[in-house]
């Protein structure tokens, strides 16, 4: 558990967390290793784990029938993979596929949600940090759909 706590602390997402909150979160965490081509999660499956990418690359993909899957965004070290574990109905909206050997932290979503309900200070920290990431992600996504390079 001790080394896991250190691993969590090293991830940029948890950098601003107080030690006691980090300890609470570590209780729900475990290490993951995904080989190239392995899926972290599939669209529609229950979103019961909060993934933070430590090393490697992950493609967020959508597959439409009759077409090869299209990557809509590439995630890297320091990114988190989605927030559907935090918002009902807790189901993944995309596929997440490791593009290369990827090491990630997986935090059990139900466990983490429970601890946030019990300790609202922890809950506030989690919400604030997730919101910061999502806001930047939203800005980038909006720039992406603006299609700035399109015909002028």
């Amino acid at each position: 558990m001790e080394s896991l706590e250190r691993i969590l602390k090293e991830h940029p997402f948890f950098a601003p967390f107080a030690p006691e909150h980090l300890r609470l979160v570590t209780g729900c965490a475990r290490n993951h290793r995904f080989a190239a081509g392995e899926y972290l999660f599939h669209e529609g499956a229950p979103a019961n784990e909060f993934f933070l990418i430590r090393h490697g690359r992950v493609a967020l993909e959508i597959a439409a029938p009759g077409k090869a899957p299209v990557i809509i965004e590439t995630l890297h070290d320091g990114d988190i993979a989605g927030a559907s574990w935090l918002v009902p109905p807790y189901r993944w909206m995309f596929d997440a596929r490791a593009l290369e050997l990827t090491r990630a932290i997986g935090i059990d979503a139900a466990c983490l949600r429970g601890k946030c309900d019990a300790d609202h200070d922890l809950g506030y920290e989690m919400m604030r940090s997730v919101l910061t990431v999502l806001q930047k992600r939203l800005q980038a996504t909006r720039l992406q759909i603006l299609d700035v390079y399109g015909r002028h």
């Binding site: 899957p69 299209v70 965004e73 593009l99 720039l143 992406q144 700035v148 390079y149």
Partner: protein, 284 residues
């Protein structure tokens, strides 16, 4: 008129183009070509990375096109032209041997010399890589004078990646970091998907001693500035290449004004902190 000394030594008429012959034309993308222009007589003038020429197709018109070639190659001007209007379409259709008019080079270019001793981050979006390519060539030619060099490049989709073969060659070098991304992937794309500013976070540079050179659509440059500032870079070390309507390119017609700056003579490369105030004002 006795009072005003207008310094009457005759200058060559800056409104009259020199004659250049089109050489090789390379099709880069479905709507973009690169062509060489060699002067019919006399030497080709020297240019600084970031400068542009006014290219004339006789009977059609004139347009401002950035120089995209290697400044150390002295025989011809190299231009990468995207077909966006009547004049650029006519330029793109010039065949080898055709004669065009050329005025230039004009403008203030990239701070390539001033960046010596620092890390360099080059951020290009779409056709923005073209005016940055001369700077890249110059930096590579003097590589030891710079710290870490990163090139962050993005386009709309894989089919629109400019200079793709050259990018692959640059990737072979061990002394430069190249990150490429696309906004929209197709099924065969194995590379990064996402907007160019998202590459900044992972680029290796010392925010306290880096010069950033940015070129692309204005919206992309705005987001890139935000990303660079968030990474700790100061506004005085970020440079944009701006674009506005250009007619004379020599500071006499008034069209290219961007606030108090004339893009043709105070730019096109402008320092970010000096323009940040009006950059986000609509319709300036």
């Amino acid at each position: 008129m006795g009072d005003t000394d207008l310094n009457l030594a005759p200058h060559p008429d800056a409104f009259v183009p020199q004659l250049y012959r089109a050489g090789r034309v390379i099709r880069e993308l479905h709507d973009t070509v690169t062509l060489e222009l060699t002067p019919l007589s006399g030497p080709r003038p020297a240019f600084e990375p970031g400068q542009f020429n006014m290219l004339t197709v006789f009977g059609v018109g004139e347009a401002a096109i950035s120089i995209s070639g290697d400044p150390s190659e002295e025989a011809a001007f190299v231009h990468t032209v995207r077909e966006v209007g009547a004049v650029s379409r006519a330029i793109a259709k010039l065949e080898a041997g055709a004669v065009a008019g050329l005025r230039g080079p004009y403008g203030k270019g990239w701070p390539v010399a001033a960046a010596e001793g620092s890390d360099v981050v080059i951020v290009a979006g779409g056709l923005g890589l073209a005016p940055l390519r001369p700077a890249i060539y110059r930096i590579f030619a003097n590589r030891s004078r710079y710290g870490r060099v990163s090139i962050l490049f993005g386009s709309r989709n894989p089919a629109d990646l400019l200079y793709r073969h050259e990018l692959e060659q640059w990737r072979q070098r061990l002394d430069v970091e190249i990150a490429v991304t696309v906004d929209h992937a197709d099924a065969s794309w194995r590379g990064n998907v996402g907007v160019v500013p998202s590459l900044i976070r992972r680029a290796a540079f010392d925010p306290h001693d880096t010069v950033a050179m940015v070129c692309g659509p204005e919206v992309m440059m705005r987001f890139t500035a935000r990303g660079l500032l968030d990474a700790g870079l100061a506004g005085e070390r970020i440079y944009f290449s701006m674009e506005r309507n250009m007619k004379c390119a020599i500071g006499l017609c008034g069209h290219c004004q961007f606030g108090p700056d004339f893009i043709c003579k105070d730019g096109p490369v402008l320092r970010y902190d000096k323009i940040a105030g009006i950059f986000a004002v609509r319709e300036i």
